[in-house]
Subunit: 393 residues, 2 copies
């Protein structure tokens, strides 16, 4: 079976993270992604993050399945090549600030004239319109503005950003979802449309009961660290040789947990026989649980609880997670050969399709390395035709 | 233009959060989502979260655009109805533990016989195969196991879960992305396939440079609270009436920031003229910035910095975010009338399509309210034909 996006050409004007993540997701599904980079300097991520022998593994891991074309989009010649590319493309993805693409001569109406079948996806901080549309965005600021930081942190501690730049990645994933949907709509209508994914909107959609509870009651969620705001017991407990994370999400699972701990009687204990009481007497309850957990090892409890149907695990660092037997079984760490750069290890495909799986068809490209190849595909066989900057020859 | 998933029928066997979020995203794009609930008790989320007049807004906000059918999947009659449903369906989404669907008589081979065009999506904690496949999962445990908690928290403080159950939502979004891709592959091949979205895989894909840097160097990321691990200045600064979040992501933006603060000379100050030095002398630099920021108000700085091209905002709580003028402009808070329950406010559509936008076609359904309607569509016009449990008549 062909990959889902085989035959789909994506012109990728994005840089840094949210956009390249989106186009990587599309490339993983089989799209032909043409990454446009400036002639002098490529995507800044080429120089960011840790590398091996001067080659950024950060860049490599977010730019697989792409071809790189160097193009000066401020020059008429460069714009002419972009025009030809867009005529042949199915999707354009950009993460400029709103208006920048129009300033370059590729506003909405012009794009429709160039190619009415083109799906145009914009990834922005706050959305393509509205009072903040012109604001520059960055993950940390969106974590702050979206309300995410206000829900993250320990009790009695200030709001906290989370380490991963999650607002970029969520926006990139939503953009990819929007693009594939717009391609499907185009299959029926014959026409492209605009897809708008905003980091702030995307992040706000990730709060589950924290937003719905606020809207229902007007009461703000409180930061509760590793405790759950409305469930007890829940959290980290101490075994004889390390902590375990335990989350009995229903009364049924709680009953199983207490049974495994030989504490079944607590379900009818007057201090603990409702969730409300267990919340109120959380410290006392946790002490009783810790006492039992400390009689055996982390590994043993993780096995016993999971076998008994109680969600349980340990706090793993990034290295432990990346070498976890389950993660390796799921092929979530790939080793990809990069010509001249050696093998790069990177995170694998987060969603698996059984018959037309994601593949690494290309490693992350060197800056501009496919320029001539793509010019030739456009029928611009010599450098003169395209008048691309000389240093790209 | 028709919605992208118009005419696509989704049979939804999921409950709680990750699965219902996935099927909501599909419904928002136009799919006909049939939510199957047990005859006695529906989705537990109906009783979870805060509500108004006993109606859970948590349930309402994750189950729009679905119809509810009550069906006892342990009974032969219920299985017979499910069989007929699957014959007419395009997509099946389930978030049982691996193997449960097969135990119910709907294993992979049987599903292929019933409907070779069916796309079957499974959302699991750890993936459908591998050493942890049988383990039950819960957001907190996946935050721990995936490495996420190890990257979240203040310096010198322990690993921290984040408030929103983000691992559920990321897995649901990846599943929706996988489903639409599989539908597209089916358009070409005529055949369905299995889509596997695991919470742990999805979360691990969200770490950006934190995973790639570790893989390149073997050095673990450290928790840095609201400071960026490799950039300075960055963080929360004190204005005359509140904090602002400032993230100058490049030297160019930093130059603009310092210019706006009248601190341009710091770029050539021997203490601060490289990022490395600025990291080393972060405290000193932050003090100098705070001194200038304290001369004006939060609102003024947010305006001045954004206008000057420096990403900047404030830490908003969930209530502030939900009433932010940009969020309102983006229609990220919807008010949806629910018959007999009044108007429910909920988070809107995180990705916008210009020509075939997401719509609320149905409010979240009452438990089992569409059972007869769907039976009739299947040609099972009377209750006797379907032999559904009596309390559903």
């Amino acid at each position: 079976m062909q990959q889902p996006l085989s035959g789909i050409r994506v012109v990728d004007l994005t840089r840094i993270l949210s956009g390249p993540f989106c186009t990587m997701l599309l490339g993983d599904m089989g799209a032909d992604v043409i990454k446009i980079e400036g002639p002098a300097e490529g995507d800044p991520i080429r120089k960011a993050g840790a590398g091996v022998n001067g080659f950024s593994w950060y860049f490599a891991s977010f730019n697989r399945n792409k071809r790189s074309m160097a193009l000066d989009l401020r020059s008429d010649a460069g714009k002419e090549v972009l025009l030809k590319l867009l005529q042949s493309a199915d999707v354009l993805v950009e993460n400029f600030r709103p208006g920048v693409l129009a300033e370059m001569g590729f506003g909405e109406e012009r794009l429709k004239q160039i190619n009415p079948r083109l799906v145009v996806a914009s990834i922005t901080g706050y959305g393509s319109s509205g009072p903040y549309a012109e604001r520059p965005a960055f993950d940390f600021v969106i974590q702050a503005m979206s309300g995410f930081m206000s829900t993250n942190g320990a009790e009695d501690q200030p709001p906290l950003r989370c380490g991963p730049p999650i607002t970029d990645l969520v926006a990139g994933l939503y953009a990819a979802y929007g693009v594939v949907n717009a391609l499907r709509a185009r299959d029926q209508s014959g026409r492209g449309q605009h897809v708008d994914s905003a980091m702030m909107n995307g992040m706000l959609s990730m709060f589950a009961y924290l937003t719905s509870d606020y809207l229902a009651t007007g009461e703000l969620p409180v930061r509760t660290g590793n405790d759950h705001p409305i469930t007890s017991p829940y959290g980290l407990f101490n075994t004889s040789d390390g902590e375990i994370a335990v989350a009995p999400s229903t009364d049924d699972i709680l009953r199983r947990l207490l049974g495994l701990l030989d504490l079944g009687h607590l379900m009818s204990d007057a201090r603990f026989n409702t969730n409300k009481l267990r919340m109120l007497n959380r410290r006392e309850l946790n002490l009783l649980l810790d006492e039992r957990f400390s009689t055996d090892t982390q590994a043993s409890w993780i096995q016993r609880l999971n076998e008994g149907g109680v969600p349980c695990g340990k706090v793993q660092n990034v290295g432990e997670a990346l070498s976890d037997p389950q993660i390796l079984h799921q092929q979530m760490v790939l080793e990809v050969e990069h010509p001249g750069r050696g093998a790069v290890r990177m995170v694998g495909f987060p969603v698996k399709l059984s018959a037309s799986p994601c593949l690494v068809r290309y490693p992350a490209p060197e800056h501009g390395v496919h320029t001539q190849e793509i010019l030739a595909e456009l029928g611009l066989t010599s450098a003169r035709d395209a008048d691309v900057p000389e240093n790209m020859e």
